[in-house]
């Protein structure tokens, strides 16, 4: 049972954080216009030469940074509450101290207006993540922490080299002087490497599954939602400079699509539960980077927000399951204890949102992007993106079907956990109100939500409660059926697009359909020859799918 003092403490914390949240939201309203930003610069250091740039510490406030901090704050708030369950009597002060260090470093990172300010937060993130990984001192965390710090340090060194570039060649702000030089390309390439190390993208991604040896609340805050998005933040700061170069854009785009696929594929093969989620994080982050590479920055931010919340929710729920099974993490052996209906329900909602199924929050972001891709871009890209989404469906259904198996054997009463679960419900609210948040970002803070949307959300809410309260075999069968239905549904979509859009687009191969004024090119043998392998691949895959259904 909860002690009285603890309740008082928690309520005080809630009140204070609510006050600051209101303050923050007021600020966010101020910066609802994307073009508005405030810049504060302090001259910090001056080398004795006139021909190079000054060293300035800048603080830049705009809508992106404010949203970034908002995400981090809410997630930190949830995890600090969740800590009461998971790390109950073990080094609480140390945990909170490192968490505060982490929070401040990410705040510095997001408020940084110059690269020098940014690098402070960047290093702080690395250090705090290392100390969080070695929170439980054992041999596995030792190896994993060394692996992680090597990758982090690589990113830091590359960032220092980029800083050198910026001091000599460019202005120190985000506005660059000469764009047509090789130095510019080198600097942008270095920035890519930095972002990819922090966001755990494909060639530099091996530290993220290793970092899952940290305790679960830490994975929930650091390695799923906040630290990993720092790379996206860095790249989004420089996005306007990169957009002038189609080569860089294609490099950025295709490598991330590749990561999206490999992350989904590896998540299907993995056996450890937390590592599955880590691979899914890699794939989702790569998807967000793909969004931002297509100039859909607001959509990318939106999906970043949703991703933060469903990953936090998933980790928190899975942490509760790990406690009951004495820190077992093999996903085939896990079951949800029968007493905790709310846990099972929240777990279901988070996975539902992760797959981006109908009327969950990330459905609104992912579906919009799919629509844009099928009209705006190549057919191949659209196809690959759809394939990645199917892979996401596969591994999430794997998690769902394994973990929704309830059992009476592991009866564990969540007397203390009720407090936590009530806070976790906040995540759930956000995950279902995706439509609201979509307008919140896209239409500049004027939320438009129709009555039908509201009805659907309410319907989902009551329906999911109703299903999950019944713990019987029939319910399980229903769930299996539902998941298989989802799969069939997506295959049908694939099939439809093959017949209508995709094959046509591949054959006629109109690069950037939108730009050429909606005119189809004629079928020419050269074009077929140049895209022969892609064409064959698509054809074979399509035939295989058609034969199945």
């Amino acid at each position: 049972m909860l002690c009285g003092s603890k309740i008082v403490e928690a309520m005080l914390f809630v009140k204070i954080s609510f006050f600051f949240l209101v303050f923050h939201l007021r600020f966010l309203l101020l910066f609802s216009n994307y073009l508005r930003f405030y810049d504060l610069s302090l001259r910090y250091y001056n080398f004795p030469s006139s021909w190079s740039n000054f060293f300035t510490l800048n603080a830049c406030l705009d809508s992106i940074s404010l949203l970034f901090i908002l995400i981090v704050r809410i997630v930190t708030f949830i995890v600090v509450i969740y800590r009461q369950v998971y790390i109950e009597h073990y080094n609480n002060k140390k945990f909170l101290f490192i968490l505060i260090l982490f929070f401040f470093s990410i705040a510095i990172l997001s408020l940084g207006g110059s690269l020098l300010t940014l690098i402070i937060g960047w290093d702080g993130l690395g250090i705090s993540s290392i100390f969080l990984i070695i929170f439980y001192p054992n041999k596995i965390t030792l190896y994993n922490s060394i692996l992680t710090i090597f990758f982090n340090r690589l990113g830091d060194v590359v960032l220092i080299a980029v800083l050198c570039h910026f001091i000599y060649r460019f202005n120190f702000y985000y506005f660059l002087r000469d764009r047509s030089s090789i130095y510019f390309l080198a600097a942008i390439f270095g920035l890519f490497v930095c972002g990819f190390t922090k966001s755990a993208q494909f060639p530099l991604s091996s530290w993220l599954p290793a970092a899952m040896s940290a305790p679960t609340p830490i994975s929930a805050i650091v390695h799923s939602s906040t630290l990993v998005t720092a790379g996206i933040y860095l790249l989004s700061k420089f996005r306007r400079r990169v957009f002038g170069f189609p080569f860089l854009i294609s490099f950025w785009f295709f490598f991330r699509v590749l990561t999206f696929l490999t992350g989904g594929f590896l998540a299907n093969l993995e056996l450890d539960f937390k590592k599955i989620v880590a691979f899914s994080t890699i794939s989702q982050i790569s998807m967000i980077i793909v969004f931002s590479s297509c100039r859909l920055i607001s959509l990318a931010l939106l999906h970043m927000l949703f991703h933060a919340f469903f990953k936090t929710l998933l980790f928190c729920c899975s942490g509760l399951i790990f406690i009951t099974f004495y820190s077992l993490q093999q996903e085939k052996l896990l079951k949800i204890p029968s007493f905790s209906y709310i846990t099972a329900f929240l777990f279901f909602v988070s996975i539902y949102s992760m797959t981006g199924l109908v009327f969950s929050s990330s459905f609104f972001s992912k579906d919009l992007v799919l629509e844009i891709f099928c009209t705006f871009f190549d057919g191949v890209v659209f196809f690959l993106f759809l394939l990645g989404r199917v892979l996401t469906l596969f591994y999430s259904s794997k998690i769902l079907t394994k973990c929704m198996d309830t059992s009476m054997d592991y009866a564990y009463i969540y007397s203390k956990k009720f407090n936590v679960l009530s806070f976790l419900l906040f995540c759930w609210v956000i995950l279902l109100c995706g439509k609201f948040f979509k307008y919140f970002l896209l239409a500049r803070m004027f939320p438009f939500i129709s009555l039908t949307d509201l009805y659907i959300i309410l319907f989902l809410f009551f329906l999911s409660f109703f299903f999950l309260l019944r713990r019987s075999r029939s319910f399980m069968r229903f769930l299996h059926l539902e998941v298989s239905f989802m799969k069939v549904f997506t295959y049908r979509i694939v099939h439809k697009f093959f017949t209508l859009n995709l094959v046509l687009q591949v054959i006629f191969r109109s690069d950037f359909f939108f730009k050429t004024g909606n005119t189809l090119h004629l079928l020419s043998p050269e074009k077929i020859k140049s895209n022969f392998s892609i064409f064959m691949f698509v054809l074979i895959f399509g035939l295989a799918l058609m034969s199945r259904y």
Partner: protein, 411 residues
């Protein structure tokens, strides 16, 4: 008196070099700045003593100590090469006496003889150099043969004061044999003497250092790789910290060619930052020794569980030693990188590799400090004393950094 000296050294800064006593003495901006870190020596060693040191504290020790600091100050002030050499050598005598009287171990005499011999062999050629330099004009230094000879003399002196790689064994020997306060002095003052001499006379050997620069850089990067390879096998904490300081100072030599550039600032930052940071690491290590009665780091396993404050400050200063961004050590790394960027891009790559490799040392310290089973759970370190010291030290460090920025922005 200490407070007064602190006040004077922090708040007294000038823009122009001061020359006094018939051109014998010169207070440059650089020397002024480097001397500003001296009063911090008094702060910990004399103001707040070690627990076991209190028994042996007497007038003789204080006398030797103040004599040492005074000699070092004179070395920084005097412009004449002969007087520079004289006080440089004179400052080593109290050090030797301190090691002789206040350190344990049987073979300290042999190490004393070793250090004395090295100092003597370094100073004799430079003596001739100083006589010839005072008599002759600067034109003679353009002669390649003579300049090479002078450089050789200078190098022999440098070898006894700066731990150049493969000639660094005197430093490790001294650190291992010396007591805690002695090694703190060594880190703070003696290494600064050699590097200050390099700063002072590098204008004569500018072209020669330019030709030797690539060779010295290779040695420096090679030393880093080799020492990181070897350091994991060490168990003496003092030896580890000494090796890390060797790795830092190896980067001073290749950047001696340019008089006024980013690496020049970086060298001064290196001196000041190393003096501030490794000095405090030695203090923490000595505290560790006082309580565990063993200098092996294996006996200090999991100090995190027994004393949080010590481990926190140890890790913090290890990170500062590595180069944590807003502080002086980061600017040091950055300015070296800026120098290498103009020099050659491949060298920048090697330097980056060096920065990455140095993380091995840090992870070694951190993992030993936080993993494993603790050996002395009962004996808790007086954490309040430590915290007060550390916070005060940190504040003074930040003040020092602030004035450093002021100094550079005023140029």
């Amino acid at each position: 008196m200490i407070w007064w000296s602190l006040f004077r050294f922090f708040f007294f800064f000038t823009l122009k070099p001061i020359i006094f006593v018939r051109n014998l003495c010169l207070l440059d901006l650089n020397s002024m700045f480097i001397m500003r870190i001296f009063p911090l020596v008094f702060l910990i060693i004399l103001g707040i003593n070690f627990p076991t040191f209190l028994l042996r504290e007497n007038f003789y020790y204080l006398f030797l100590f103040t004599l040492r600091v005074a000699f070092v100050c004179f070395t920084f002030i005097f412009d004449s090469t002969f007087l520079f050499l004289m006080f440089l050598e004179a400052s080593s005598i109290p050090m030797l006496l301190l090691i002789l009287n206040y350190s344990k171990g049987q073979d300290k005499v042999s190490s004393l003889i070793f250090i004395f011999f090295i100092n003597f062999s370094g100073s004799m050629p430079f003596f001739f150099f100083s006589i010839m330099k005072d008599g002759q004009s600067y034109v003679n230094f353009l002669d390649p043969f003579h300049s090479f000879f002078y450089l050789f003399c200078f190098f022999l002196l440098l070898r006894s004061k700066v731990p150049i790689f493969l000639l660094h064994f005197w430093l490790t020997k001294a650190h291992v044999r010396a007591s805690g306060s002695c090694s703190m002095l060594l880190a703070r003052l003696i290494l600064k003497l050699g590097t200050f001499g390099l700063l002072k006379f590098s204008s004569f050997f500018c072209s020669l250092f330019g030709t030797l620069g690539s060779f010295l850089f290779r040695i420096g990067s090679f030393s880093c790789v080799l020492l990181t390879w070897v350091m994991v096998r060490f168990f003496d904490v003092k030896l580890l910290v000494a090796c890390s300081s060797i790795m830092h100072i190896a980067m001073i030599l290749p950047f001696s060619s340019e008089p006024m550039s980013y690496p020049y600032c970086g060298r001064i930052m290196m001196m000041v930052g190393h003096g501030l940071i490794s000095y405090f690491i030695f203090y923490l290590v000595t505290l560790l020794y006082e309580f565990s009665l063993n200098r092996s780091y294996d006996f200090a396993k999991a100090i995190e569980s027994s004393s949080k404050s010590l481990s926190t400050f140890l890790f913090l200063f290890m990170f500062l030693n590595l180069g944590f961004p807003p502080f002086i050590s980061f600017l040091r790394e950055l300015s070296f990188c800026l120098g290498l960027y103009l020099w050659a891009f491949s060298r920048l790559f090697i330097f980056g590799l060096r920065i990455v490799l140095r993380i091995i040392f840090l992870m070694f310290m951190i993992t030993k400090g936080s993993f494993g089973k603790s050996y002395y759970l009962g004996a808790k370190i007086e954490s309040r004393l430590l915290v007060v010291n550390s916070i005060f030290y940190f504040v003074s460090l930040s003040v020092c950094l602030f004035f450093f920025y002021c100094r550079f922005s005023l140029i």
